[in-house]
Structure formats: C-alpha cells, structure tokens
C-alpha cells in the first residue's frame, strides 16, 4: 500500500484548507459590518467560496471512496486510531453541513445564491424569517465546532511530526516523496 496520499487527494485537501481558513474569519468579520456595499460584496464572496468548498467536497468524498488512503502508523493505539477516524468523519460531515446550512439560510432570508454572480443555485426553501435566523445559528454553531476540531486536527498533525516523528504530516505535503522511494 502506498504511504502517500495521491496528488489529487493532496490538492483537494490543501485547496479546501485554504478556502476554509479564509471563510471562517471572513464570516465572522462580515457579520459584524454595518450594511454597506463592502458587506454585500463580502457576503457574496463568502457564499461563492462556500459553494466551491461544497462542490469540491463532493469530488473529494468520491475520490476518498474509490482510493484507499495510506494506513495510520502501526504504533498508534486503537483509541488514537478511532479518534483519528472519528475526527475525519466529523470534518467531512461539517464540510457538508456548514455550506448546506449557509445555502438554506440564504434562501430562507430571501437571498438567492448565485455562484460567482453567474450560476443561480435553486432556493430549496421559501422566504421564512424565523427559519432564516435559526439556520444562521446552526451555521454559526457548526462553524465553531469545526474551528474546535480543526485546532485538534492541526495540533495532532504537528504532534505526529514533531513528537511521534512519523509520516502522518509529511505524506500530505505536496511534492513530498516518501523516504522509502529513495532508499
């Protein structure tokens, strides 16, 4: 079995990481702005990037289901492995649920999402103020859960690299070749 993620898996991981690391602070910042053209612009950008993450997630899940990822290091305990799998499943679910709640919130608040201002995405819900506010809370809460798991995700990757000194981090680095290939 390969000890590396495929180039596709790496690209998807880092593209989405970059987008999500932009989306979360952008969401927090734009929410606090008074109504202005900038605010409307930032909201649109946030939605466009969010839809992009959602689409990439669908590609990523299909790729993940058809390509075996490298196994976790053998020295990891059973609990660690279970925690790792659970964390990744949670991240996948959040990457699905957060854009979905944002899309539904947008519809409920009466703003259709038009991807990059070009491709209209159908409204799954009619306008409903209360539902819109509930979905806004769901969107925000799920984002905080994601922030928490991401902190653990990054901390775990660094722990694997600097403390355990295994290849869990490096095998996700683009262009990185496993040392076994050079030996």
């Amino acid at each position: 079995m390969s000890t590396q993620y495929t180039r596709t898996a790496k690209s998807l991981h880092w593209m989405m990481a970059l987008m999500i690391f932009g989306l979360i602070p952008l969401g927090m910042y734009m929410h606090e702005l008074p109504l202005s053209p900038e605010k409307l612009q930032l909201y649109s950008w946030h939605k466009w990037i969010g839809v992009t993450v959602f689409v990439l997630l669908l590609v990523r899940v299909s790729w993940r289901l058809t390509h075996q990822p490298p196994a976790l290091p053998e020295q990891m305990s059973k609990i660690q492995k279970t925690a790792s799998h659970a964390g990744h499943i949670a991240l996948y679910l959040l990457m699905l649920a957060i854009p979905l709640s944002g899309w539904l919130m947008s519809s409920a608040k009466g703003y259709q999402t038009v991807w990059f201002g070009v491709l209209p995405i159908p409204d799954l819900l009619g306008k409903d103020k209360e539902l819109g506010e509930t979905l806004a809370e769901v969107h925000e809460s799920l984002s905080w859960v994601m922030v928490t798991i991401l902190i653990v995700h990054v901390a775990a990757a660094l722990k694997h690299h600097f403390i355990d000194k295994d290849d869990v981090l490096t095998r996700m680095i683009p262009g990185h070749r496993p040392t076994t290939e050079n030996e």
Partner: protein
C-alpha cells in the same frame, strides 16, 4: 324625426353605459420592484401609496392617473435594509417622503394596452417616463397592470458609497397592479 332621435340615442348610449373606474381598492393593488444585487435578483414593495385614477375604456385619451408613494413604507425584506434605504443616501424619506407620478397623456396601443406618459418625481428630481400598461375589466373591477424600468442613478437613489452600480445595479424594474371600481 324618428331617425334623428335614434341617432341621438346612439350617440348618448355609450355615455350612459360608460364605466369610469375611479375608486382604488388598496387591498387589491400593489406597487413592487425588482433589482439586481451582486447579480442576484431581489424584490420588494411599497406598502402604502395613494392613487387617483379616472379611466373610461371608451375614452382612454381623457384618462388620468396620479400616484403618491409613501417611500418610508418600503419593504425590502429585512429591517436593516429597510432602514438603510429610508436613510439619507437612498430615499432620504425625512426630506422627501413621497415619490409621485402624474400622467400627462394616455395613448391606446392595441386592445387593452395603453401607453401612459407622465412625470415621475423622486427626491426633488422630475423625469418624463413612458409606462406601458394593460387594462382588464373583471366584473365590477378594472385592473391595471404594467411595469417600467428606471435607473436609480437618475434620481440619486443610492448616493455616496452606494453610487456605484457594481453591487446594487442601476436598473430597477417597477411593477404595479392597481384595482379600481367604477364610481356609483
């Protein structure tokens, strides 16, 4: 004698049966608008307006219409945006509470279709506009429908940071449906 009487009756008959629609039914009338924001179609409406209409389908050229729209009654779909558009850079409703339209001439186009020319005043600016409108009689009611597009920039609706049209488009389509009954 008999002949001239018949002619006289024929001339008078349409006047007797003529229906002049003048009583606006506010519950069955509305003025709405649509525009684009970051490429997304948005809509809203004005909840309160006064209107006087006198329209006799037999004599459209004599028809008259005028509207006074209470701009503070705007409903954009959200409290924050309702407050914003009532504010200084948009309608500035404190200084300019109403938008008005007064017809100057009404020209029949085809059956039930008319071209209404008139003056539209918003924020102390008056422009001539032409509004295509249709008329249908439904029992006692007469229903007028139509739409026209204005450029918000022509009336300084959205000044300062909103003056550019990259976020909120310049074109705003106004749609109306006015129901009136005939005066007794």
């Amino acid at each position: 004698m008999m002949k001239s009487l018949l002619i006289a009756m024929a001339l008078v008959a349409p006047l007797v049966h003529a229906t002049e629609y003048t009583q606006i039914q506010p519950q069955q009338s509305h003025i709405a608008f649509t525009y684009k924001q970051m490429g997304v179609a948005m809509d809203g409406r004005f909840k309160r307006f006064n209107s006087t209409i006198s329209f006799d389908p037999a004599k459209p050229a004599n028809a008259k219409a005028s509207f006074d729209v209470e701009l503070a009654s705007i409903d954009t779909g959200g409290t924050e945006s309702d407050e914003e558009v009532a504010g200084k850079s948009w309608f500035n409703t404190k200084a300019f509470p109403t938008a008005s339209f007064v017809s100057t001439s009404i020209k029949p186009l085809t059956a039930n279709r008319y071209e209404v020319s008139g003056k539209l005043s918003i924020k102390a600016k008056t422009l001539d506009i032409v509004v295509p409108a249709s008329f249908i009689s439904q029992g006692k009611n007469g229903v007028f429908e139509g739409s026209f597009t204005i450029r918000r920039g022509d009336f300084s609706i959205g000044e300062g940071p909103w003056a550019k049209f990259d976020v909120v488009a310049n074109d705003v389509q106004v749609k109306f449906r006015i129901t009136a009954t005939a005066a007794k």
